[in-house]
């Protein structure tokens, strides 16, 4: 293994481990997550009184915890490239601090976005309970956003690697600023797809996994000029085909 490959692995391995642990928690202990609270709130036949009870039982902190778990599972793999950039551009003695500042700022943005997204999902599911209308509405919004040039603008900005000062307070502020801006563009890019798992009555974790794969796949594509077009799995498909061909040739 080359030193560069070893360096990449040092970043990739712990991040994928964190994501894997979060996924395992979501799969084996879905109760108490934001997802399950929202989904049970909208099961067919949910009476108004039980809705109130659900709202009372799902305290903000448990929703926040559930949302944080979702973010850890779905978003951490997307952070491999920017974290690598922060690490590469920081002195060895500052690396851990710079990465922590970047990641904290990024998750602060996503947690703030979670307030809006969870509220939106709650409203949609509580006021149209037991109907397929929320699924249809959110899918339509996600599809339009997925095709839109605005989504491409956000995706392009997710590839921006900010300049980071090397020393002192400026270095800390740059890492924070990079985390905040990256978080904002990431929310802009992913918000519509992140709503989707909340509108399924069953199979929410599977929906989350599908969304996570799509988010990861579209992030692999290079930035392109914004336009109306489908974006998603094209590069992943090319990688899979190329890898398969290479392995077949070797064997």
């Amino acid at each position: 293994m080359t030193p560069a490959a070893r360096e990449r692995l040092q970043i990739r391995a712990p991040m994928l481990f964190i994501s894997a642990v979060a996924w395992i928690l979501l799969v084996i202990e879905p109760s108490g997550t934001a997802l399950s609270a929202l989904c049970s709130a909208a099961m067919p036949g949910t009476a108004p009184s039980s809705r109130e009870m659900l709202l009372a039982l799902n305290a903000p902190y448990s929703l926040a915890l559930g949302w944080a778990l979702m973010l850890a599972a779905m978003m951490v793999p997307l952070l491999i490239a920017p974290v690598r950039h922060v690490r590469d551009r920081s002195f060895a003695r500052r690396r851990a601090r710079a990465v922590m500042l970047f990641v904290t700022a990024y998750f602060v943005v996503w947690m703030a976005a979670g307030v809006v997204l969870l509220a939106l999902a709650f409203v949609v599911r509580l006021f149209v309970p037991g109907s397929s209308m929320p699924l249809a509405m959110v899918t339509a919004v996600a599809l339009v956003w997925q095709f839109s040039p605005l989504k491409q603008r956000c995706l392009n900005r997710c590839h921006v690697q900010a300049e980071l000062a090397a020393f002192g307070l400026a270095a800390d502020l740059d890492a924070l600023r990079f985390g905040l801006t990256h978080g904002v563009w990431c929310v802009g890019s992913c918000w519509a797809l992140m709503l989707l798992p909340f509108v399924f009555s069953r199979g929410n974790v599977a929906a989350m996994a599908a969304v996570a794969v799509l988010l990861f796949a579209e992030r692999l594509n290079r930035p392109t000029p914004p336009s109306w077009r489908w974006r998603g799995m094209s590069k992943v498909a090319r990688i899979v085909v190329a890898q398969t061909r290479m392995r077949l040739k070797r064997s």
Binding site: R157, V160, Q161, E163, A165, A166, R222, P223, T224, P226
Partner: protein, 127 residues
Amino acid sequence: MSASIAEAVSAAPDRVFLNLENVRGLVDSTAFRVYVGLPDGANPADHPELLAGSIALFGVRKATLVDEEHAGKGLTFVLEITNIVDALHLKNALDVDSLNVRIVPVKPVPEDAQISIGRVSIFRQGR
């Protein structure tokens, strides 16, 4: 014989690189000469031994645009400056806390070129 060659190789100085990171601008047809360790007020033309290299910013305009392939990262140039640093060190003229890097345009740069450099950094690589 092979032992002495090995010693000579292991005694070779570390390699030193000058990075010009996130070079952005709106005019492709610009080029610069990069000098390292040039004394203040010195004429670059009088010190060819301090010339780290020349850079031409072909493609810089496209690399500057956020909605293009480089996502606005600009261009990054890496110049090896081992010989210059080694020579400065042998002359006791190397101040590692303050090493001048002077970037001199080959031809006058138009005002609308808006050339900028995100970060200038120096990396040392052990042999």
